[in-house]
Amino acid sequence: MRAGFVSAGARARALARGGGIVWPAATVLASLLGLCLVWSLAAGLWPSRAFPPPLEVWRVLLKEAGSGDLGFHLAMTLSRVAAAYVVAMSIGSVIGVLLGTHRRADSFFNPWLVLFLNLPALVVIVLAYIWFGLTEAAAVGAVAINKIPNVVVTMREGARALDPRFAEMATVYRLGPIDYLRHILMPQLQPYFAAASRSGIALIWKIVLVVELLGRSSGVGFQIYLYFQIFDVAAILAYTLAFVAIMLLIELLLVQPLERYTTRWRRGSA
């Protein structure tokens, strides 16, 4: 048991260095299979239409995928997630860095920030649809507005932690604004940006579902609403799990490698 812990830690470090990937993948796979097994047993013990076994969900998934519906709705949701993510991260980062570096502006706008942080997602979505109509822009904008305050808070923390010595070095050696952004500012903000991204994507996709449920006629949220009306739990689970799987793939194949690349200068395992 103990040895298992130790080697798990060693494997995690190996993974952090970009080393072995086989072992952790096998662990994840075994863990997921175990979950399916438990689910399957439970569904066998209490058979009900409202609690389908994994095989039933898998069958629905294949059927929906075969008809092309699954791909279309996943793509719609994914594109909304991507759009809202880009909008929220860019606007939130700029505001956050400005507030973090300008004390006066920060104390003036802080109450606004607290207000927006505590505004329920549902209210923002409903208002966006009322004010701007049931449009794609309103949907994406509503999601972004829900996420921006979180990004602002994280990036403001990052801007407050900027090391003035690097800025002075940049002044002495007359770095241009683009070089400053690229070589001084962004690398220092990178951990904060990564943190905001991580919590961001998970939050955004959940809000996107609500937006789709309330005012779009495509996407995973819309499909879930549809199958909710006919109590088709297998289809609801099929859509949900398909999207979760995609998010997991993005995390494993895109976010983590990118993060490993941007933090390559940290010696050894941090």
């Binding site: 002075e168 070095m169 002044t171 002495v172 050696y173 070589h183 690398p187 940290r266 010696r267």
Partner: protein, 249 residues
């Protein structure tokens, strides 16, 4: 690219700071510099020598343009690249860029790909060009900071205790290195230090500062070729110095 081109026309560094004050957290006015004026000739290596906390670093920060809240004026040497370079008390290398990237970043955009082999060679950094600063010892990081400063072929180089917090042997070899690279790429140098022997080893002239508020006590011309400054010669220079500036002992 001519690497050994001397920097520009004969315009000396002229400093004439009337007053520089700080306000403490409790609102008390502290005078850091008052009536500080001196000159450093073209291509000269000068040291600002004074006790810790006498305002030497403040003076450098003013000359670097990092602190503009002062009364008085200064004039930087012109010519060459017309640029200022600095080596700070800490190396201040970007940890997320390699040694070579750190050096090249300090260069103007159109000179970024210039040949730096000779400079890295002199400073013994040839094998470390692709390392990240976290992989360097403090001594090597200091050398990288020197490389960055000399790569820009500055009209003036300002050094703020660049050998502080190094063990004596490393500091000594870095001092020799500094002289070698400076001889290969001559420029006006103003170095701040509180180490008398260091100043006597490196400088043409030593500008001696009084404790806070800093003002010039006098100027000590070393007047001995650098090749001849061995241990005994330095001991003699120290005695001469104390004779002229008994109050700074």
């Amino acid at each position: 690219m001519n690497d050994t081109q001397p920097a520009g026309a004969a315009a000396p560094l002229k400093v004439d700071i009337t007053e520089k004050t700080f306000r403490s957290a409790t609102g008390v006015k502290i005078v850091a510099l008052r009536g500080l004026s001196f000159e450093v000739g073209q291509g000269e290596f000068a040291c600002l020598l004074g006790p810790s906390g006498c305002g030497k670093t403040t003076t450098l920060r003013i000359l670097l343009g990092l602190d503009r809240q002062f009364s008085g004026s200064y004039q930087l040497p012109e010519g060459g690249s017309n640029r200022v370079a600095a080596v700070f008390q800490e190396p201040v290398l970007l940890p997320w860029r390699t040694v070579e990237q750190n050096v090249r970043l300090a260069l103007p955009r159109n000179f970024r790909d210039k040949d730096l082999d000779g400079l890295f060679e002199i400073l013994g950094l040839s094998a470390m060009r692709s390392l990240y600063p976290s992989e360097l010892s403090l001594g090597l990081a200091r050398r990288a900071a020197l490389a960055r400063a000399f790569a820009t072929e500055p009209a003036i180089l300002l050094l703020d205790e660049p050998f502080a917090s190094l063990d004596e042997r490393t500091a000594e070899s870095l001092r020799r290195l500094l002289i070698r690279v400076w001889a290969a790429r001559p420029t006006t140098v103003l170095m701040v230090t509180h180490n008398l022997r260091e100043a006597l080893l490196l400088a043409d002239r030593i500008i001696v500062l009084a404790p806070r508020p800093a003002q010039v006590l006098g100027v000590f011309d070393v007047g001995l070729s650098r090749d001849l400054r061995d241990k005994t010669a330095l001991d003699r220079l120290v005695l001469d110095f104390h004779e002229r500036f008994p109050e700074s002992a």
